[in-house]
């Protein structure tokens, strides 16, 4: 049986680990709430834009922007991969990468090449190991991501799309279902499918200044950027939620371990006392 002193040191070291994981859990919980607020507040912008885009799509059928060109043959597609900057958030990133790998495999089997843009440290590290054509990347967005940090990365992809180097852009990120569940998802960003029931009934048109094309171009770019921004914010909320859950289970496990060790420690102590008493009694009998 291990010495009582050894067990005591072990218990105290686990206790300090538990303190850390508990603190991280609480920090993640408060950050998650803020990230969720941010998620909600970025929504009206994108919704409003989508409305206008739908309207423009139906109001000026003679002009189709490249971003709306649905019929392109797919030879090469781009993925924008949104990940967290830091670890200790359970299987959040690895689940996403696994989902992405399955998709990439399917694309390659169909003879489609893939290129990537990464957002966040973990995705970059992953592609370094996995190997892949990374066209642009951004890391260290922090807890409050700003849209201007994303402009460059998104533009790299959009430029490649307009130049015909890639034929579609997808975004891979985690979607926030609830605190316990985050679902990895891959969605198509470009070409935009503006063909929907919504906005079909308009009979009037806007006055455009300077003209419809310029307005639509600016609008579409901003719309895509705002979608990427939303994905980043949502992934941030997922990260905090996943970290909170992971840290909670780590704290619980540490608690169980401490209980077990405490039991072993008590037994060891008891055994030592019993032994001492029997030695004294034995000694007294001999005298």
């Amino acid at each position: 049986m291990a010495g009582a002193k050894e067990i005591r040191t072990k218990i105290s070291s686990i206790k300090s680990t538990q303190k850390i994981t508990k603190a991280m859990q609480m920090v993640a919980a408060s950050k998650m709430r803020k990230a969720q607020d941010r998620m909600a507040s970025s929504r009206p912008y994108a919704e409003k834009m989508l409305q206008v885009i739908h309207h423009l799509y139906h109001a000026s059928p003679e002009y189709r922007h490249a971003y709306m060109d649905i019929g392109r043959q797919r030879k090469r597609v781009g993925y924008i991969v949104v990940s967290s900057d830091r670890g200790l958030c359970g299987g959040l990133n690895s689940n996403l990468f696994r989902r992405l790998l399955a998709e990439v495999k399917a694309q390659r089997e169909a003879g489609v090449e893939v290129v990537f843009c990464t957002i966040g440290n973990k995705a970059l590290g992953f592609f370094r190991r996995f190997g892949g054509n990374v066209m642009g990347q951004v890391t260290h967005l922090g807890d409050k991501p700003h849209i201007e940090d994303l402009i460059g990365t998104v533009k790299v992809m959009l430029d490649a799309y307009v130049a015909g180097e890639i034929d579609a852009i997808h975004i891979a990120c985690n979607t926030f279902v609830n605190t316990m569940t985050q679902r990895p998802s891959i969605e198509q960003l470009v070409p935009i499918n503006a063909e929907s029931e919504q906005g079909r009934t308009h009979h009037w048109d806007y006055i455009y200044e300077p003209d419809a094309r310029v307005v639509l171009d600016a609008l579409l770019t901003r719309y895509i950027e705002s979608l990427v921004y939303q994905a980043v914010v949502e992934n941030g909320a997922c990260e905090q939620a996943a970290r909170m859950v992971a840290m909670k289970s780590a704290s619980d496990n540490a608690g169980n371990l401490i209980d077990e060790l405490q039991l072993v420690y008590n037994k060891a102590r008891q055994a030592a006392i019993t032994q001492e008493i029997s030695e004294i009694v034995g000694g007294a009998a001999a005298v």
Binding site: K48, Q137, V138, A218
Partner: protein, 141 residues
């Protein structure tokens, strides 16, 4: 009560203002715009400048936008504000920067990334060790 128009000012990072106004002034790309209630539908780009919202009582509220879009419908004005200064060459520079960062990182010039990579390798090694241990236990039994 005077005729009013609903004004929404939103940016990608959140709603900035929402409320009723008797008049809205905005810096359109083709010139300053004044929008009264029942304005004809209009959509335009905005320059950097001041969006002014005139309330019922006549007091003005100012919002600085660094550009964006303005959408007008007869009873709703929506300002889709940019949060950052946008210009063609600025965007271009940002794109180049993102590309350069990717190249740098993949060429292995970033210490931070080395760390991330080492961490990932460590996790892999630990998982392998754990698997070996499990196999051993199974064989031992």
């Amino acid at each position: 009560m005077a005729m009013t128009i609903h004004v929404d000012i939103v940016s990608a990072e959140g709603a900035i203002h929402s409320g009723l106004a008797t008049m809205v002034y905005a810096p359109g790309e083709m010139g300053e715009l004044g929008i009264a209630p029942r304005h004809t539908p209009l959509i335009t780009r905005l320059k950097a400048g001041d969006v002014r919202v005139e309330h019922d009582g006549g007091e003005m509220e100012h919002f600085y936008v660094s550009g964006g879009m303005l959408e007008v419908q007869p009873d709703v004005v929506t300002v889709l504000a940019d949060t950052a200064l946008r210009a063609r060459d600025l965007d271009e520079a940002a794109a180049l920067e993102a590309k350069r960062r990717a190249e740098d990182a993949l060429a292995g010039r970033s210490a931070e990334l080395e760390y991330a990579k080492a961490q990932a390798e460590l996790a892999e090694a630990v998982a392998q060790l754990r698997a070996i241990e499990k196999l051993r236990k199974m064989k031992g039994k």
